[in-house]
Amino acid sequence: METDTMRVLHHPILGELGQDDYVEIIVDGKKLQAKSGETIAAALMANGIHIHRYTTKKHEPRGVFCGIGQCTDCVMTVNGKPNVRTCITPVEDGMVIETQQGFGKRGTKE
């Protein structure tokens, strides 16, 4: 699983990565493992997903840019709600996350 290759398991200052609980998130219909408490953006990155949305006019991909909730480049549709800043929103078990197209559409949670 790609999760293990991108996660920082050992760190000279922070020490070993704790054995936290994992939760299941559903990204574009696919079930993925995420660490409990981490942000959506971190979970996606650990799973090798870098495209969060496509722009409205030119349909260009966008990903994480600022990582602290300021730039809104990383927004996605989460549980049917568009424009959720994934870099500061923690994952929850069963969360439904979708790559956002343009400004996004308000949908319903499955």
């Binding site: 991108m6 996660r7 920082v8 050992h10 760190h11 000279p12 200052i13 922070l14 990565l17 981490e38 942000t39 953006a41 971190a42 990155m45 650990a46 870098h50 495209i51 969060h52 260009e60 991909p61 966008r62 990903g63 994480v64 840019f65 600022c66 990582g67 602290i68 909730g69 300021q70 730039c71 870099c87 500061i88 923690p90």
Partner: protein, 359 residues
Amino acid sequence: MKREVVIIGGGPAGLAAAIEAKKDGCDVLLVDENRRAGGQLFKQLHKFFGSRAHRAGVRGIDIGKQLLQETEELGIDFWLNSACIGIFPDKRAAVLRDGKTEIIEAEKLLLCTGGAENPLRFPGWTLPGVMGAGAAQTMANVQRVLPGKRILMIGSGNVGVIVAYQLLQAGADVVGIVEGMPKIGAYGVHAAKIRRAGIPFYLGSTIAEAKGTDHVEKAVIAKFENGQIVKGTEMETDVDVICVAVGLRPLSELAQMAGVQHDFIPEMGGWMPLHNADMETSVPGIYVAGDTAGVEEASTAMDEGRLAAAAAAEALGHLTKEQAEEKKAEIRERLDSLRQGPFGDRRMAAKERIIKKGV
């Protein structure tokens, strides 16, 4: 709801301000939009500079823990997950909390909303994989996920050099640091770590392009002279992340909404709210501190927070003029000592200019 001192932003400036104001006897409400306070302290794994009073030699992450512990011990009223979305006349702050907007009437309002990284525009700059150095730092040090395996850093200031080293510590390969100027911008002690790790500095160079379809695959760097890319010097390298560390700017939207007088101060990151020697702005009772009041360091941010808090406590009558003057003089002395040397001199001069402008 009425409160004496309302502090927006729980980073180093806001936390230090809250602690000072509370100790001085103020009723304090601290508001932060994140689910954890500490601002960007928790991604700072390096040891800070300054004197012992500034906790020099202590890592940012540990300073963050100490500040949080102190706010807890003092029983400071702390609203997390609460975003201040507007400032209305008479120092009324609109705070979005649990899906509802609450209006808080503040006697003294302190804005410590920090700064944000500057972007750099070049062909391919919007591709996923091009990100702020701070974003990569958050990912690696807080979330503990590497943003990529082969990383190029643009900018050799302290942020670029420190983050490059921390990405290396987290297990990534840093292929180089690109710097437009002819010399390295960071402190020698940080740059030396990069040198020892064998990471090349490309001085007098810039990023010409990020290539890739859905994600960064290659970076093109080239020589940079007189503000122009030198044709024929382009060099291509395989990367999956390009980090941009080209300075920060003050986040002062709330101060702008409040009608605070701003000016363009290049040394402090550009447009920023003007303030006096007490950190008070042109709107009486509204104070600024930390990166909002000009981008500097976490240690200066903490002392600016304390300075604003002591001034507010004095204005509210919790400190006598003598008590406040003594406190403020001590803090100002520490701030002066932080604004020394080749890096600090410019900031010191800028701050003096700001205060001289008057508000």
